[in-house]
């Protein structure tokens, strides 16, 4: 009885999802004449407004990161009480989150600027439109990297057993090697949670790419890109689950090897 109700629930969910997607697609097809110019105007506006938006994002997120970092620093010494130490950890986590959000926003805003660049060049044709935004993006990324290095150094001050230089390519490997069992458990748990969420997000992205292709004529590339990401995401998980990531062998192959 329980199995049948789970099956019915799954069928119902798929049917509702299909219906919602169909309605969205139909709505977009019917409203295409209004939607396409609206999207093009939005693209142009994003390209034109890249610099002020980037500045606002940097001030907001960068400011928040700095604020939380400064509050965490005095709560990080070896003589700090346990309650204050935990508070310092939460503040440092907020600082890291703010910087990650800034990085995401910077890349997204620059992507939007790039999407509207050709039309903007046709209308305004200034060479600064080509030079200034990439320089601003580079400055923003360097600011994020600098902030993240400071955050890692503070984490290492709080937890002296942590190893790794954030500026080196082997940082993640060195950091994981210096984590003990509980920290690795947290990392693996967070990794699995992220895997499940990304699975859903990529499926939604695939549906969106197909609908946008039908309505706005975005072509093959978005669908192929999302498909490729979904493939890498899923297959890499299955491979890692059945092989030792260090040796690349399956457990039964390792047992056979003398």
């Amino acid at each position: 009885m329980k199995k049948r109700s789970s099956l019915m629930k799954m069928i119902l969910l798929m049917a509702v999802g299909g219906l919602a997607g169909g309605c969205a697609g139909l709505g977009m097809m019917l409203g295409r004449e209004k939607l396409v110019p609206l999207a093009q105007d939005l693209q142009l506006w994003m390209a034109r407004s890249y610099l002020p938006l980037q500045l606002a994002a940097t001030l907001l997120c960068g400011g928040a990161a700095l604020y939380f970092f400064r509050r965490a620093k005095p709560l990080s010494g070896p003589e700090t009480g346990e309650g204050d130490f935990e508070r310092g950890e939460k503040l440092l986590f907020r600082s890291m989150t703010a910087l990650s959000v800034l990085m995401l926003l910077s890349l997204t805003l620059f992507g939007c600027y790039g999407a509207g660049l050709f039309r903007l060049m046709e209308e305004e044709g200034s060479v600064w439109l080509l030079l200034l935004p990439p320089a601003v993006l580079l400055a923003s990324v360097m600011l994020v990297v600098y902030g993240q290095v400071r955050q890692v150094r503070l984490t290492q001050l709080r937890n002296p057993e942590k190893r790794g230089n954030p500026l080196e390519m082997t940082f993640q490997k060195d950091w994981l090697a210096s984590c003990d069992e509980a920290e690795r458990y947290q990392i693996y748990r967070a990794g699995y949670h992220s895997y499940r969420l990304t699975n859903t997000a990529l499926m939604v992205a695939w549906v969106a790419a197909v609908l946008l292709g039908m309505v706005f004529g975005t072509g093959l590339l978005p669908v192929l890109l999302v498909g490729a990401l979904l493939g890498v995401h899923t297959l890499s998980y299955y491979w890692a689950a059945s092989h030792d990531p260090k040796t690349g062998k399956r457990p039964e192959e390792e047992r056979r090897t003398p």
């Binding site: 070896p78 346990e82 057993e161 984590c179 069992e181 509980a182 920290e183 458990y185 947290q186």
Partner: protein, 72 residues
């Protein structure tokens, strides 16, 4: 988690902070904090190490509650 622990109590008896106990057991301060809060159940090896540091038996330090297990 169905595992009850008295780690904080024994740590207080030894007058150690989390970092010091972690150092003696070969784990981080954060791990000690997670175990004390009940957010992480240690491996057998770590449980034995902690019991040795606290000079008690593992069963005195950690207890698996039958009632909690049934509820789970």
């Amino acid at each position: 988690m169905p595992l009850e622990n008295r780690l904080k109590e024994y740590r207080a008896r030894l007058d150690l902070n989390q970092a010091q106990l972690g150092s003696l057991a070969g784990v981080s301060r954060q791990t000690i904090s997670l175990i004390e809060r009940g957010d992480y159940s240690p491996s057998v090896t770590l449980a034995l190490k902690l019991a040795e540091v606290c000079s008690v038996r593992v069963e005195d330090l950690f207890r698996w509650e039958e009632d909690n297990h049934e509820k789970a």
